[in-house]
């Protein structure tokens, strides 16, 4: 059991209270899992040629100064410039310009010991940690972040170990801005993982949900629309799943043919919110409006 939630402000509103809404939605879903909590938030205050990179240090033994020099050298050797370098506890937020090849850059960063990439994107950042949504907010100040849209997840681990690397959202390495949160289990995970590995994809974790992110990103890279990719996933992915996917300028969900995992949504002229349970939607909508429960084999997408 896991809890998923998403919110999207329409009409290109770029400074909406996405952070605080996600925190209150995820906190009300706390009973669905509190092993770890994570969000992806899409903010607007970013120039078009910049990339935001979120890195996480997995070991206690590291030298801040050495790591900073190593990273700076590595990024400059790729011909890119660092505009911002923020160290907070074991997280690093980088803003860089002039990126030539995201895949090579990601592989280079991965080659540094004890360093994980949480996300790379032009306007997105993945923030995830162990504990519930309140813990996440206290540590990373999510409720101060505004943006256009975002997704979130509370985890009750079933498929792989409880740590930050294996917590959601999963970034679709190495495709920028695509992240996925998933409630359920994939049963054909191993065969599909082998297939994508043979195509040259590198998986960062042993979690089945990461596959959905890579799968969708691969489909989008092959010029399928988000809706087409989601529809195709209903055929290709086996198991129980309701997942949310967010891209640079939109989000969507897919629910498998058994209708095993819950999802409800509420839509107003200016905003759309989705969550595992209605109690989370009530954190966003105080007025009485119609609630929709998607059924089996259902796919929907929205744009900002």
């Amino acid at each position: 059991m896991c809890g998923i939630a998403a919110i999207l402000y329409k009409n290109n509103v770029l400074n909406a209270p996405v952070g605080p809404h996600l925190v209150s939605m995820l906190q009300s879903l706390r009973h669905r899992g509190s092993d770890s909590t994570g969000v992806t938030i899409y903010s607007s205050n970013n120039k078009s040629n910049e990339l935001i990179i979120i890195l996480r240090i997995t070991s206690f033994k590291y030298d801040k100064a050495v790591l900073k020099t190593n990273l700076t050298q590595l990024i400059q050797s790729q011909g890119s410039q660092i505009q911002e370098f923020n160290f907070t506890e074991n997280y690093i937020k980088l803003i860089i310009t002039n990126i030539k090849n995201i895949k090579t850059l990601a592989e280079q960063i991965k080659s540094i010991d004890n360093l994980e990439i949480d996300s790379i994107g032009s306007n997105s950042q993945v923030i995830k940690d162990t504990g519930d949504a309140k813990d996440l907010d206290n540590k990373h100040h999510i409720s101060q972040i505004s943006g256009s849209h975002g997704i979130g997840h509370v985890r009750l681990a079933t498929e792989s170990i409880v740590d930050v690397t294996h917590s959601h959202p999963f970034w679709a390495y190495p495709f920028p801005d695509i992240t996925v949160v998933h409630n359920g289990q994939l049963t054909n995970y191993r065969s599909l993982k082998r297939f994508y590995e043979s195509k040259g994809h590198k998986f960062q974790t042993h979690n089945d949900s990461e596959l959905i992110a890579v799968y969708l990103a691969d489909k989008l890279a092959n010029n399928l629309s988000l809706k087409e990719a989601l529809n195709q996933s209903l055929v290709d992915l086996d198991g129980s799943y309701t997942y949310l996917v967010s891209t640079k300028d939109g989000l969507g969900f897919a629910k498998e043919k058994w209708s095993f995992k819950p999802l409800v949504l509420m839509e107003r002229k200016d905003v759309i919110a989705l969550a595992s349970e209605e109690t989370a939607l009530r954190q966003v909508f105080t007025e009485e409006i119609d609630r929709l429960e998607p059924q089996e084999n259902e796919v929907m997408t929205w744009k900002i």
Partner: protein
């Protein structure tokens, strides 16, 4: 409802355990209760074993009104999964939509959903009646053992899958029948019965009613009563 005997319980001021025990005590004295600000919380109003009126002013979460025996519930909003699970007697009316597994393992009484119901509505029903004003989802009436389901709208795939006994009436389209289910012959007496039942809930629906029953080919028991071997009619 008699106003003098009606109490109010506000869920912004009570935690779940306190709320349920207070509600249970009011029900023991036959006092009608109005529940404010349910905020789609889970496990509300469960295990109420006396006759009384309980109206919930808003949406409820999972397993609401479960394990109850006697009360008449009105939910002025939506309901989450597993509404009225194992209901022994009494009635539940949902003014909007219900989630998956509505009236699961229900034993007696009436459940009426004015809007749509999710997947697996009436799963393992063991008696009573489930009325759905709108559409119903995948695997409706799965492993149903007794009772009736009336669906005014359309019904999803695999309806009445592995059903033992009981009847499902569908007013709209049937997406597909489940294993061991078949369309039975409907009589005018049954259509009158559906109309009267729906009139009780102020639903006027003129439709080409279809009746789904079990084919009983999955029956593998050799100790059936003679009556059990004939197909169920009203």
């Amino acid at each position: 409802m008699i106003n003098g005997l009606m109490k109010q319980l506000d869920l912004t001021q009570l935690d779940l355990r306190n709320f349920n025990s207070k509600l249970k005590n009011f029900a023991k004295d036959g006092i009608s209760v109005s529940v404010l600000h349910p905020q789609a919380k889970h496990n509300l109003a469960v295990g109420i074993l006396n006759q009384c009126q309980i109206s919930i002013e808003g949406s409820v979460g999972y397993y609401c009104c479960s394990f109850s025996d006697g009360p008449n519930f009105i939910i002025n909003g939506n309901s989450g999964w597993g509404l009225g699970s194992n209901l022994m007697n009494g009635s539940i009316v949902v003014k909007k939509n219900a989630g998956a597994s509505v009236a699961c393992s229900m034993r007696n009484g009436q459940v009426c959903v004015y809007g749509n119901a999710g997947a697996r509505a009436g799963i393992a029903m063991k008696g009573g009646q489930l009325i759905i004003g709108g559409n119903s989802g995948y695997l409706t009436g799965y492993m149903m053992q007794k009772g009736k389901i009336i669906i005014c709208g359309d019904v999803g795939d695999a309806v009445a899958d592995s059903m033992y006994e009981g009847i499902i009436y569908v007013g709209g389209k049937i997406s597909s029948l489940g294993n061991d289910a078949e369309i039975g012959k409907i009589t005018t007496k049954e259509i009158d019965y559906i109309k009267k039942t729906l009139q009780n809930y102020n639903i006027n629906k003129n439709a080409d009613w279809k009746k789904i029953i079990s084919s009983k080919k999955l029956y593998n028991y050799d100790a059936l009563e003679p009556l059990e071997k004939t197909k169920l009619t009203i």
